[in-house]
Each structure stands twice: as C-alpha cells, then as structure tokens.
Point group: C2
Chain length 384, copies 2
Amino acid sequence: MTTTSPLLLPPIAIPGQDANTVSTPALLVDLDAFEYNIHHMATLAHHHGVALRPHAKAHKSSAVALAQLAQGATGICCQKLSEVYPFLNAGVKDIFISNQFVGEAKVAMAIELAHHVKLSVCVDHPAQVEALGKAANKAGVSITVLPEVDIGHGRCGVPNAEALLALADCIAGYHSLRFGGIQAYHGGIQHLSDWDDRKQAASRATAMTQAFIQALESRGIRCPTVTGGGTGTVEFDAASGVYTEIQPGTYVFMDDHYGTNGWGGELRLRQSLFIASTIMSTCKPGRAVCDGGLKGVAVDSGLPRVSQTAGGDRFRYIAANDEHGILTITQNETEDGRVDPLGERIRLIPGHCDPTCNLYGEYVGIRNGIVECVCNIDARGLSQ
Amino acid sequence: MTTTSPLLLPPIAIPGQDANTVSTPALLVDLDAFEYNIHHMATLAHHHGVALRPHAKAHKSSAVALAQLAQGATGICCQKLSEVYPFLNAGVKDIFISNQFVGEAKVAMAIELAHHVKLSVCVDHPAQVEALGKAANKAGVSITVLPEVDIGHGRCGVPNAEALLALADCIAGYHSLRFGGIQAYHGGIQHLSDWDDRKQAASRATAMTQAFIQALESRGIRCPTVTGGGTGTVEFDAASGVYTEIQPGTYVFMDDHYGTNGWGGELRLRQSLFIASTIMSTCKPGRAVCDGGLKGVAVDSGLPRVSQTAGGDRFRYIAANDEHGILTITQNETEDGRVDPLGERIRLIPGHCDPTCNLYGEYVGIRNGIVECVCNIDARGLSQ
C-alpha cells in the first residue's frame, strides 16, 4: 500500500458538459423522457384511484426514488433487505420488501430496518412468519406482513386459499406483526407482446387474486392492500377494481424487452435510458467493435439494440463479449470507399434495464444534448 | 436527506464466522483452492520461462492482484483504463491495458495513469497511436505500445503484417512511445472443450503469431514482448517458444464454462469460487427458489451449476430471474413424504466468473468452513 493519497478516478461527467463527450460506456438518462414517464404513471395511478409504489429494484437509486415520491408515490418496493439502506438514508419512509427472505442474518436486518422505516414484507411460508414474529416481538418493532399469492406465475406465493388463511392465522399469532393484505404479482405475463393477449392474461390473473381476497373475506379478514402489477400489466391492474396498489419498476427507463411489447391502451412510455458507447476498433471490414460488452449491458433478455437516432441506421449489435460489443456495419460505403467509424459514438437500448443499471455506479442525466446531473446508483450490487 | 448519520449495512462477513452463516447471496472463495491455482500457474510460467501477467478483469480486486504478484507475477493486465486506479492505489507498479481505447477522455486518463504506473497499452489503428503519441509527447510521459494482431479471433487486432508494420512505423514517430512487442490473443479458442482440438487450434494461432513476429524481424524490428493466452490455451502458449508472456485471468477462480473443458495436459486447476445462496421459497412441489438470480450470477455462458458437495445432489438450477434462482428438486422425498428445503443453503458454480464477480462488492475468503478474510472487489463496475 502506498502512503500517498489515492489517485481518484475522474468524475464520469460534469453538469454543463456536452453529452457527446461523456466517457463511455455510460448510462445516459434522457430527463425529458424520464420525467414524462414518472408523471404519466403517477397520473394513471391517480386516475384509477390506486396507490403507486414504484419498484426500486429497476433503478437502484435513491435520487430516482425521491423523484417518484415527489410525484405522489406512496412509498417504494425493494426486492432485497440490503437495498433498503440507501433509500432509508435518503429519506424514504415507507418501504415494502416484495420478496421472501429467510435466515438469522436476514431477520436481524429486517428488525434493524423496522426501527427506522415503515417496513412491510412479503411471506409465503409459516416458518418465515414465525422467525420474523419472534424477533419482532422481542425487539418491540411493528412490521406489516403481506402473504404472496401465486396467481399463475408458479414461482413464489401460496398456491391456494387454505395456505393463505394458514399464513393469516400465523401472522395473527404475533402482536408485533400486522396482516397488511396480499402481494399478487405475475411476472410471467408482463412481456406477452400482444396487447390483447396481455390484457386477457392479466384479467385471468386478477380473477385469481380476487378469489384469494374472497377467501379471506369469507373468514372475516379484511384485505387493506392488494399490491402487484409490473410495467406490462399495470394499466390493467390499476383499472381492475381489485388492486389497491401498483408496483411498476421499468416504466421510468423502459428497455427493449418492454419496448417491443404491443401498447394498445392508455399507457405510452418513452425510452429514457441509453448506454453511450464508442467504437474503439475497426479492423475487420463490415464489422466494428464498441466498448459496451457484458459488463456494460445485461444480455439475459436479448442483445441491446442500437438506438435508431444514434447509430441504429448504420450499426447492428450482434454479440457481447466481456468488454466488447460486436457490431455489423449495415451501411458503411460511400462512392469513394469504406468510411472508417473508429471513434464514433452510438447509443444502445438494453434488452433488460434492471440488471443493466445494476452494473453502473451513476446515471448521467441529459437534456437537449447537455449533461444536467449525475446521480449515484447507490443500491447497485445490494443483492442481499 | 436526513441530518442523522446514515444507517450502515452490516458487514457481509467477519473473520472467524462459520462460512455457513454468511448472509446470501455472497461470493465465497475457497482459499486452499485459490492459493493452489495461483501457485500452480506461477509454477507453469516459471517452468516454461515465460512471464506471468494475470488478467485482473477476471477478479477486479487489488487484494487478488497482490496475491498474484507475491507469487512472482510481473505485473497485471487490465481491460479498461478506469480499472487501473484501484490497482495503482494498492501498489501495483506495472499494468498493461490489453485493449483498445479512443477519445479525448480516455487519452487523458492514460496520460494521467502513465505519471503513476509503468503503463503499456494495446493499439490496432494508427489514429489510436497518433492521439496517444501527441498527448504523451506534450505531457512528457513514456508509454509502451503493443499493437494487437488478429490470430484468428476476428475481433480486434490488425489483420496482416502490412498493417502491423504501419503501426510500428507510426509508434516510432513519437518519442514518448516505445514499441513493446505484440498482443496476440485468440478468445474464440479458449473454450474448445476437447483438449486435443484446443491444442491444435492454439498451435495454428501461435503459427500466425510467429508470422507476425517474422514480418517485424525482416524489417529489423525486435519484438521484446509477445503476450497473450487465456486460461484455456495458456499451457500451450507457455510451451510454444513464441510467447514471452501469458495473461490468464479465470485460473484463480475457474467457472463452469472453463471447468467443463477437457484438461489433458499439465494444467490442473480447482474451482475456488462459489456463490452461497439460500432457498427462500418452496411453494411449488418439486421446485425451490433461491436468492441467487441475474443480479447475483451472470448467465451469458450458461446457468450456474449447483456444486455437487453443496446441494448438487438434490437441486438443479433451471432458470434465473432478476433476484430469484429457480431450482428443480431432484431428490426431495423420504419414506415419510416431502422434505421442505426452505432455508437450506447451496453453493453455485457460475457459468462465467468475470461478469459474476463484477456484480459483487466483496469476496469472502473461507478455509475449513470458517471465514478467514473479506476482500474488496475494488475495480467492480469500472468499465470505462
């Protein structure tokens, strides 16, 4: 270890800088589109009389959460307990963990968080309730618990009313725990590309949600919150009369997976997230190599697409290596011969925004071609 | 923003802790296997009289780099300029950027780094040399430049001797730049699973490397360093008599992609990297859901495999969602009926270690079932 002070990385961008000079790869956020999306979703929720609790797993940034709350969001969802820390520290008061957790370390984290934030959590097994209830009773904290019900996704969530009622009974056995309603999310239908198919699938899922609510009511258990809905189904869920709260995440940014969905209803979102990338090698005719690879863009939901207005007319992204993106040049000839694109900048639309954002330390907010702000992705990598 | 001091995340692990109580998902490093791999590769390089310059893009951690240097590595490779900062700050003196970069911000970064570390870089285009040479002349720093040659990979690197000689001439035009030799890496053959096929492919690639060296020599240009070789071909490259330096990265940890390669020669590496994960939902018969999903394990080279000694006899990983890993239970019945695995811990072997390590903030080093150390992944996310 040297004894001198460390050499600091230069800042990724500075407000006022030309957006086309930001060092790459970088996550750019078109602030006009971003603000439009936040306002549009808040308006949709307000119009249908449902609460909006955006999912912070998509953006992992307290700055984004505060922007959502400023437009009327009632709180946020996190998917992991460790994600809560930066949001809590930034002043978010009401956080729902829309996911199950088990183990002593996790229960201890939940108890600590419940001392500092209005915490609600998700369960689907009596053992989860028992571990949390015992610890919360002992610590003297109050936690709201929402059993998850499986409405067709087949991942987490109790499969039937009997199991749901057993969980409600279990929750009632701990004075520190409060039954808050149910979590009913069907991830599998969010990306059905045909809008009518998606609407029908959401309708079937909502009918299953309603059956769970009725089973609770028939036992005299009121269900104050019915929460769920992702960006793909949220317009149906909000209008269903069944959900009281929606939890979309991707809508702030959008991605190519959601962007290629059909959108036949009232929801019209804009792509606000782009990966700025630079072509740094051009040795092979018809090919170019850019600096956005697997460590700069998640490929689980398909390769990124080159934005039509920022290189998409001339380049196609065909393969991702660790630090290299391989492009074919679809239009690189002039009458005088080859045009060498070395140093050209392109913008990529990621296939899947959530794991892509999780790769970066900052968002670079741009407007009219100028950097306006740089925001920390302060929950990046917090997967516990 | 609250005015009170922030609530800090609990430490991921504490030395002395039982490894089976570390909060999940977490990157565990089996220190016996890790130290064996480092020593084994250093011995191989020493035996063949080649320099070992491990690639830090695999582990992104200065603690790991220092362990490699302590065993005789001559320096490290980085793939990006921004990666250099933490290694430089930790005391690494000799760093080779085995990749191309373009643009003012990048050139400025290279110049700054060259003031603090023995920097060598890779080029494959005269424009890269010119931009760097002008800036280095002006700044009064010295940078060693190694043109990359394409030995069959078809990604970066000059395609022929003529282009290589033109680059050497271009480098000679700047007093601040020194021609250091060539970078000759064929990523495409690293994962040929049959050992003999891989050996033959490496032999063909080495013949192409040799032809480039001869073209330089025929012009009277000596080639002090011939560097390349990944974990898959390094035993052939080291023994080739052509390479003077090898740059494997994955060997410290291994992954399932390399692990399923055939290994018929002197190289025998051990899997040292595991993702500890916990089963947190078990609502569906025959299925279990663990807490290691897309944000905890890269899936670009296939899904993770459940380690045979830590759940692999009973679970198979079949799908990754953002924060969920879906497992089938291959053996969950006793004579008395279903055994509920909720809360069970498993260990996953990632398909691809490089982008997996890039998702985490720390390595948890374990030995004999006890946590021995926690090391920062201080170059995590530095992709510029």
